[in-house]
Amino acid sequence: MILTEKSIAEIKEKAVHYPVKKSAILPALTVAYRQVGHVDEVIYKEISKIIDVPTLEIAEAATFYTMFPKKPRGKYLLQVCNNISCALRGSDSMIAHLENKLDIKLGETTEDNMFTLIGVECLGSCSTAPMIQVNLDYHENLDKKKVDSLIDELKAKKD
């Protein structure tokens, strides 16, 4: 099993409240993604056993949503919102700045597997634009200085 005892318990705890088993698919995928960093067929099968829903139905749902990618990404997923409110506040230029700083293009992962940089649609941070979501955290009201220190801090982190 890839999913840990803790994740399995968490999925079961969530599943028990729904009147219909299938409703636990998204909560289970969320728990799995947070533990593993991606969700593929192997994990669909594991979830299938935990919540007693056919693997196919899990795959069917999972592949619709952007938050359950099948392939692993860098340790830190940098999601730059690039929709209108953020773009008016310089998100295009922030992406260019990050591409330079990390020496990768949008959509790529750094060689050391530390950072994946992607552009995403509106994350509901319009009045605190521009922003980057780093894994689960929102970093908002960004400027060049804040972006630089954010990346430096992440690089220096040892966990």
Binding site: L26, N83, L88, H139
Partner: protein, 444 residues
């Protein structure tokens, strides 16, 4: 979880006797159940269970004039009354917290800073439709909101505001915090219900409407966070009080998310009918244009609403006045852009969003948004050809009104309005193979 608090007008809201959604949002303790209760929280919920009939609750909300704050503006009380009284099936209440219309970031403020207000509103709405299991569907990216709501829910259970035999009334009510997977379409109520059921988030044909056949094929009401958060205040202070705020047809207060080229982007609670110009220029709100640049246009109600030109902004922010200007109040997301903004570039950003978020079920939307994006990208890249604008209009016309859910319309309306209001600039782009003004917005 890390996030940054947005600027609000809580200080004004605290002093104004009519504003109620943002009264306490600057106090971090407002998230805690004790503080919430000490300020009158769960009082309306108690009063309702103490002996207000379901019919009276619905009647009060109807009379208050409250309309859905998610974008469509449908009367909330009327929606509740559509649940069949004689149905033997279970009923469900779903709070729509899938906030994802570009420009909109208001519901997250209530979830972050006043989560019990949402739970209390959901509870009262549940009672009104005789529901015993209610859901809040929160967009998956809002991890911090999910945590706040889960903590508040736990507290509400512990203190007996949720669970079995609430306040000894015999009424049982359970709650589930459900999280999404990053799909804008799930803010559309039937797609949202499919998503809770563990399906792909695609819209359903209506009828049947969710009030008749919604979640698990049972009668279901879906309401926006802000609509539900207003409900306890309506119960406490009465329909007449609520109806006295705002304009003749647009009642109550509304949260507006202000973003783009203003000095003070933020979330502001104002009575409906508040002037848009004041929202942008008043130092207590937008504080004027960023870097003193000239205003070029405003999207008044989220990415799917038609534009307003600078000479159109002396307008009341309410359902009717914006409709008169051929636009919409929508979700209350005001996006302001200055003279350095290329209109084709704005539309390029918007159509990319709608193409990406189209669920793929209806052909006009799935294919049409893709064609539109291709053509608009081409014009933006300086490769526009004569006839492109007419072709775009034709495709728009073939999407509008021809899809199951409003996403197709939402994608088309800003484009049609941009073509109407900024025609010269589009034509310039095609003739000169470049922008009239270049949108080079540097990161500060």
């Amino acid at each position: 979880m890390h996030y940054s608090p947005v600027i609000t007008n809580a200080e004004i809201a605290a002093k104004d006797k009519d504003l109620h959604l943002f009264q306490y949002v600057e106090d971090p303790k407002q998230c805690e159940v004790e503080t919430f209760v000490s300020r009158g929280g769960y009082k309306a919920w108690k009063a309702v269970l103490d002996g207000i009939s379901k019919e009276d609750v619905i009647e009060t909300v109807k009379k208050s004039g409250l309309r859905g704050r998610g974008g469509a503006g449908f009367p909330t009380g009327l929606k509740w009354s559509f649940v069949p009284k004689d149905s033997p099936k279970a009923r469900y209440l779903v709070c729509n917290a899938d906030e994802s219309e570009p420009g909109t970031c208001k519901d997250r403020v209530i979830m972050e800073r006043d989560p019990h207000a949402i739970i209390e509103g959901m509870a009262i709405a549940s009672y009104a439709i005789d529901c015993h299991l209610m859901f809040i569907y929160i967009r998956g990216e809002f991890t911090h909101c999910i945590e706040k709501m889960e903590t508040a829910m736990k507290e509400a259970y512990e203190k007996g505001h949720l669970g079995k035999n609430i306040y000894g009334s015999g009424y049982d009510l359970e709650m589930i915090v459900h999280t999404g997977g990053g799909a804008y379409i799930c803010g559309e109520e039937t797609a949202l219900l499919n998503s809770i059921e563990g399906e792909r988030g695609q819209s359903r044909m209506r009828p049947p409407f969710p009030a008749i056949e919604g979640l698990y094929a049972c009668p279901t009401i879906v309401n926006n966070v802000e609509s539900l958060a207003a409900v306890p205040h309506i119960i406490n202070r009465g329909a007449e009080w609520y109806a006295s705020i705002g304009t003749e047809k647009s009642k109550g207060s509304k949260l507006f998310s202000l973003s783009g080229h203003v000095n003070r982007p933020g979330n502001y609670e104002v009575p409906l009918g508040f002037n848009l110009k004041d929202m942008i220029y008043d130092p207590a709100y937008g504080g004027g244009m960023l870097d003193g640049k000239k205003l070029k246009g405003v999207i008044p109600g989220g990415a799917s609403t038609p534009f307003l030109l600078p000479d159109m902004i002396d307008v009341a922010l309410d359902y009717e006045a914006l409709q008169e200007k051929d636009s919409m109040l929508g979700s209350g997301a005001i996006i302001v852009f200055n003279e350095d903004t290329c209109i084709v570039w704005v539309i390029k950003k918007l159509i990319h969003f709608f193409r990406h978020e189209s669920c793929g079920k209806c052909t006009p939307c799935r294919e049409g948004t893709g064609w539109l994006e291709q053509m608009i990208n081409r014009i933006e890249a300086g490769q526009g050809q004569p006839g492109d604008l007419e072709k775009i209009e034709e495709v728009c016309g073939n999407i509008l009104g021809r899809t199951i859910c409003p996403l197709g319309d939402a994608a088309v309306m800003p484009i049609q309005s941009a073509l109407r209001l900024y025609r010269d600039e589009w034509q310039y782009h095609i003739d000169h193979k470049e922008c009239m003004v270049k949108s080079n917005f540097e990161l500060k």
